[in-house]
């Protein structure tokens, strides 16, 4: 009796491990296939630009809005803390370094996941359940090259640019609150920033945003491509894509920070 219980437990555990390994393997193969197709010609420039417009241009407003309020709240919190040490003059570097090294890449990635990543999963998922992906296959057109590679490249182009916009708008949001509301000297705000922010800090943000864009594009296209059946399948895939992308972005952020510091 005990032997049977142990055996059935081991069997169930083994089945789960096999499923998980298979899933990770499929994800890995999918990413590899997408990267190879994205790197090799022909490049679908028109298709890539359309995706850049959807992922990048259409996200500018929401990114700017988020960035402005993030910079403003950073300035408020930063001023409150720095004033305790009589270092209000360091508000500029505090806001800029927080945004450039950390909050800019992370929050931009999370916003893009919510706005464009989820839409991407739903779009590809609907194409899957509507047999449009099968239809591409029957025409002899590689769906990964046609659907996934342009979106991957568009994410890699758009997210770092959106992060740059986030950083700039956030810094000006901090300036608005710090200088105009709290009375920090404007010259000191930008002067200290110029003295403290180095190219390595900017590079750090760029590397992070590139890594995050790869994660979002990978997870969201994968979830859409292998969506379940029917409307419920697409709905589950979309939810799962947003959750998994967001968690992976935060996990990856920790490891990248520890490597890049």
């Amino acid at each position: 009796m005990i032997t049977e219980t142990v055996l059935s437990f081991a069997e169930a555990l083994g089945a789960r491990v096999l499923r998980a390994t298979g899933f990770l393997g499929r994800m890995g193969i999918f990413l590899g296939a997408a990267l190879v197709r994205a790197a090799l010609p022909p490049y679908r420039v028109g298709n890539i630009l359309r995706q850049v417009h959807f992922i990048g241009v259409k996200s500018v407003f929401v990114i700017s809005l988020t960035a402005a309020f993030t910079g403003m709240v950073l300035a408020l919190q930063g001023y409150y803390t720095l004033r305790k040490f009589g270092s209000e003059g360091l508000l500029g570097p505090a806001v800029a370094l927080s945004l450039i090294r950390e909050l800019g890449p992370v929050l931009s990635a999370l916003m893009v996941t919510g706005r464009a990543g989820s839409a991407l999963t739903a779009e590809i998922g609907i194409m899957r359940i509507g047999e449009q992906i099968d239809s591409l296959e029957t025409m002899g057109i590689d769906p990964i090259r046609f659907l996934v590679a342009p979106r991957l490249l568009a994410f890699l182009l758009s997210v770092p640019l959106l992060t740059a916009i986030f950083d700039v708008v956030g810094i000006y949001g901090g300036y608005l609150v710090g200088v105009h509301l709290l009375g920090v000297n404007g010259g000191v705000y930008f002067g200290e920033m110029k003295a403290s922010v180095e190219l390595a800090d900017v590079a750090n943000g760029v590397w992070k945003s590139l890594a995050f864009s790869l994660i979002i594009a990978w997870v969201c296209t994968f979830k859409g491509y292998f969506t379940g059946r029917g409307a419920e399948g697409v709905s589950n895939a979309t939810t799962s894509a947003v959750v998994v992308s967001s968690v992976l972005v935060l996990v990856c952020d920790y490891f990248l920070t520890s490597v890049l510091l």
């Binding site: 029957t138 025409m139 057109i141």
Partner: protein, 274 residues
């Protein structure tokens, strides 16, 4: 077109003569094909031949494995066992790239039409030519307009799929399936969900296309017994197995109780569905 006993339009007699079975030169052969999905054997050792330049109908109950058979024929699904031979070569042994080349010989009309939502009717039909043919845009336009005129969609060029009726979607999908001049066209329930008049017009269109080009056609259908007047060869599938193969008349007059029940649409018989 001729009229049958019921007064319905009937397909003109095939220029190649009726199919009598035993074609020595089938274009497609499935040999011992097996497929298991979610622990259920959905195709169970199917062996069948698709005669070249004939219309083959695959009939059976819903869930019998008919659509899966089509997907195996074009390499969208790989069998767990068995072979899918196109002109004698197993398509499952091809590399991915070679398989994409082989698929240029196919056209497929999906049950839902599977038109691309973001493209107009014209763009949908032009799509395979733009992507694969290397034809100049002027020639593409000429060809697409000619085919869309043939299917009666010349006034719907700029419409998007969600602006079309069910029949128009199928006609656009048919135009897209034939625009590349394939050798084999697969139809997955091309008339499901359409009213009788639209259904007949789609079948007429398929028949006319056949007479113009003599493509090999394979059609999964539930239109019984009407489908018998639109095909040369019938394959009856049940529970993932081929139950009977023959000419429309042969199947219509089959003594197999399951086939009789299917053809007559009887609720009593070997199949207890209620």
């Amino acid at each position: 077109m001729m009229m049958n006993a019921n007064g319905n339009a009937k397909c003109e007699p095939c220029a190649l003569g009726p199919y009598t079975g035993g074609n020595p030169d089938p274009i497609l052969r499935l040999v011992g094909v097996e497929k298991t999905l979610d622990g259920r054997k959905v195709i169970d050792g199917i062996t069948l031949e698709i005669p070249r330049r004939r219309i083959t109908a695959i009939i059976g109950l819903s869930g019998a494995g008919k659509s899966l058979l089509l997907k195996h024929m074009i390499g969208l699904m790989k069998p767990d066992r068995g072979q899918v031979l196109l002109d004698g070569a197993d398509i499952n042994r091809y590399s991915r790239r070679a398989l994409y080349e082989v698929r240029r010989r196919f056209g497929m009309l999906f049950q839902t039409g599977a038109l691309f939502d973001s493209l107009t009717v014209y763009e949908n039909v032009a799509f395979p030519l733009r992507e694969k043919s290397g034809m100049p845009e002027g020639e593409i336009r000429e060809k697409v307009l000619r085919i869309l005129r043939n299917v009666g969609l010349e006034n719907a060029l700029e419409k998007f799929p969600d602006e079309l009726s069910g029949g128009m979607v199928r006609r656009a999908a048919l135009a897209r399936a034939v625009v590349t001049d394939p050798e084999i066209i697969l139809f997955d329930e091309p008339t499901t969900g359409l009213d009788p008049i639209i259904r007949n017009s789609i079948l007429h269109l398929i028949c006319r296309t056949y007479h113009e080009h003599h493509f090999t056609m394979v059609m999964v259908s539930h239109d019984l017994p009407d489908i018998f007047q639109w095909c040369h060869h019938v394959v009856v599938v049940h529970n993932g197995k081929v139950v009977e193969v023959g000419t429309p008349d042969g199947i219509r007059n089959s003594v197999n109780p399951f086939v009789r029940q299917l053809v007559e649409g009887d609720i009593t018989g070997p199949l207890q569905l209620m």
